[in-house]
Amino acid sequence: MPYVRTTFNGFVAVIAMIPPLAILPILFIIFGLGETSKVALIVIGVAPVVMRDMILRVDEMPRELMVKAQTLGASTWQIALRVVVPQMMPRLIDSVRLSLCSAWLFLIAAEAIASQSGLGYRIFLLRRYLAMDTILPYVAWITLLAFALDFGLRRLQHKAFPWFAGRA
């Protein structure tokens, strides 16, 4: 179990080191210039960070809780299912909220470089005409969307995991 985790940990750490934007061309070659490439870029850029964050959070859990679960007769599988995963869910939401920043970055970059549509595409298209007055509303839109998403996730966390907010 610890061995599997170390290997996995190392693997994720290496993946996380690859600058996602650098492999964007590769993605375009594999997936074409469509939506798939953008989604793939965001996933590749964000997932390793979120995964590493989750691994750190699991390591952070007090050992006492694991021992306690064992004294209640839990198997490793049961501990994962009933103790670790449920406690990680709200933290996963936190992690995703933080990652949204870079997700936006990847999205706009991908659209700016190779897309025929989307907010990023339009902003960079308008840049050529120095059309500041039309760029700003787009920026406002993106900000609003980002804010709404963040707010939605926070609400979800609050509703689905009421124990998380008030914990010591």
Binding site: P62, R63, E64, L65, V67, K68, A69, Q70, T71, L72, G73, A74, S75, W77, Q78, L81, R82, V83, P86, Q87, F161, P162, W163, F164, G166, R167, A168
Partner: protein, 272 residues
């Protein structure tokens, strides 16, 4: 009613001796209070009794059998902190022990089995004074209530041995006195063998049937690496807290938690 025998146990961490030559014979239904200066290895000793840690040398026998390599359900534990699961309500925290036992795959009960487990858990929670807080989360409880919850959670597994690591250290004197009464009652009724680490000597003598002190006989800086702590005092507490035969409590008219528990649906009753 469980005898524990510790035979010449040593514990080293990275070549540094923490405990040495610890030998101890514990009679069934003892309440052992462990005291000693900070860092002398009391928690380490408790973790070895729990199988969360293995002795470097020596053996620990329970009822004549070597301890298994992992913590098991016959030894319950209450830590000073982190003893309850923050994501479960009070009731769910106690039901959890039942669910682990009866549902290997999902660790969750449904329907009638769930209802039964919840009733049993509620019964135990009422016995420790948490009957009105079943649906609260641990973060909504006071420190004393959290420790009561941790005790209830351990009790539902009917452990033969209960290990307590400074369980009441963070509680104010009033609450502590209340919990002491509860603890003695539970100890008498369940006949568990209890080991409790404490820094409070009066607590040790009030609750324990025997007080064991750990200390380092050699404690000069240059000796610290090579010499660990061991048992320096072993005092039987006088007067004894119960007649050795235990018949007094068996025939006493007090309501006994164990009987209440045994009388619950789905459990065979015990005669005595």
């Amino acid at each position: 009613m469980t005898a524990v025998s510790v035979k010449n146990v040593w514990k080293e961490y990275d070549g540094r001796v923490v405990l040495e030559q610890v030998s101890l014979e514990v009679e069934p239904h003892s309440f052992i209070a462990l005291v000693g200066p900070s860092g002398c290895g009391k928690s380490t000793f408790l973790r070895m009794l729990l199988s969360a840690e293995t002795p470097t040398k020596g053996d620990i026998l329970v009822e004549g059998e070597r301890l298994p390599g992992e913590p098991t359900a016959d030894r319950g534990v209450v830590f000073q902190r982190y003893s309850v699961f923050p994501h479960l309500t009070v009731l769910e925290n106690v039901v959890l022990g039942k669910e682990f036992a009866s549902s290997p795959l999902l660790g969750k009960l449904f329907g009638k089995a769930k209802k039964q487990a919840r009733e049993e858990a509620a019964e135990i929670l009422t016995a420790v004074g948490l009957g009105h807080s079943l649906d609260l989360y641990p973060s909504q409880l006071s420190g004393g209530m959290q420790q009561r919850l941790a005790i209830a959670q351990a009790l539902i597994k009917r452990p033969r041995i209960l290990l307590l690591d400074e369980p009441f250290g963070a509680l104010d004197p009033g609450i502590r006195a209340e919990i002491h009464v509860l603890m003695l009652k539970l100890w008498r009724e369940t006949k568990m063998t209890v080991f409790m680490v404490t820094h409070d000597l009066s607590e040790a003598f009030h609750l324990g049937t025997r007080v064991i002190a750990f200390d380092r006989p050699r404690n000069r800086p240059e000796e610290r690496e090579r010499y660990g702590a061991t048992i320096t005092h072993d005092l039987a507490v006088w007067p004894p807290k119960y007649p050795v035969s235990d018949t007094h409590f068996a025939s006493g008219g007090t309501t006994r938690l164990l009987d209440e528990l045994e009388a619950l649906p789905g459990r065979p009753g015990v005669g005595h």
